[in-house]
Symmetry: C2
Subunit: 192 residues, 2 copies
DNA sequence: TCGCTTAGCTAATGCCATTAGCCTCCTGGC
DNA sequence: GCCAGGAGGCTAATGGCATTAGCTAAGCGA
């Protein structure tokens, strides 16, 4: 009965890796325990249960995603920043097909780090929009547009909602270009 | 042991209603059987299993959604059509919080009606874009942009990813306006 | 060194999906 | 009008997963 040396962090990281391998919906405590070489109930010494694990995984993923978005945005503004952040977002979703869906879970209000990571991601969008001269209420709308378009795209791509893979890159580039057009004329769009 | 009078259509319709009530992820054969007043295994006389039920539910939902989009688009073009179709799409997703996620499942290639319904929905988008003078490869990209933005928005809205409900209507109107701007200048966006 | 906390374990429970096999109702052909 | 068979119910059994309870041993600290 040698100790396996687990702790909450190790468990969550293993869950993230396993989710990326088998898919978020197939991430199961049983599979995770098997991967870690322990019996299933042993996991309860480190996480409260399946739901709590999903919550912690969400916090991990959104923090990673925010970090990569921030790195992409660094030193860029306007259309450059838009493109870099959007590409980084999609790249994360593609490299981490299990973590990404996890990140979309609504943050646990009782987890300050989770909330902070979420706000960090939103903050990057606001900063990016600032470069287009968009702020205040308009920035709320524009940030939601950005999130919706990019999340929608990667979600549809992940579920195979699109056709040939080759063309998807071009479509994403067009989406970025279209967002750029929309953001550059955002104030006039308000009148529409 | 009076016959319950079930058939595949009745079962799928009941599943749709139940999904809207309890949520797609909580739609379970056990709950459905209970709702229909039969024992769980009895459902297997009408559907092959949980996965097949999800598939049939997806076909039902995408057909309904396509119908509502088509009705909204009828007699409209350009920005009017865009707005009407987008509003109809979101309206369907909000009125049918269980059916809508089901509709996002990738169609069963062996189900011609399912495929047809999916293509009908995409066709509406193409027709709408025709009103902007967008066709060919550009229409593929623009249709994906439309789908991504609208799906992303309603998905984030459904999971509570946004803040106060009041402001969400305004954000959606802005999203439609932004799409209108993007589509009106789509050819120039290609260069970007 | 001794004791206590803690990280493992096994056992038991309950829910769900699925399959097998039975029984009865209804219908259709004679 | 009957009876044969298909179809639509059922119960029972199996297996996977999550969760809880309670036991045991490892390792740390006094």
């Amino acid at each position: 009965m040698a100790r396996a040396g687990l702790n909450p962090q190790v468990v969550v990281r293993a869950a993230a890796q396993l989710a990326d391998e088998v898919g978020y919906e197939k991430l199961t405590l049983a599979a995770l325990a098997s991967r870690l070489g322990v019996a299933l109930p042993s996991l309860y010494k480190h996480v409260r249960g399946a739901d709590a694990l999903a919550q912690k995984l969400s916090a991990l993923a959104i923090a990673e995603l925010a970090d990569e978005m921030m790195t992409a945005a660094a030193g860029r503004s306007g259309g450059d920043a838009l493109r870099a952040v959007a590409v980084a977002y999609r790249s994360y979703a593609r490299r981490h097909p299990g973590r990404y869906p996890a990140s979309q879970r609504v943050p646990d209000p009782a987890d300050p780090e989770h909330l902070a990571a979420g706000e960090r991601a939103v903050g990057i969008a606001y900063a990016m929009l600032q470069g287009y001269g968009i702020d205040g209420d308009a920035a709320v709308d524009a940030a939601r547009m950005f999130r919706a378009a990019v999340h929608g795209f990667v979600a549809l791509e992940a579920t195979g909602g699109f056709g040939l893979p080759r063309e998807v890159d071009r479509s994403f580039a067009q989406l970025i270009a279209a967002l750029d057009v929309a953001f550059r004329s955002w104030p006039s769009a308000v009148a529409g």
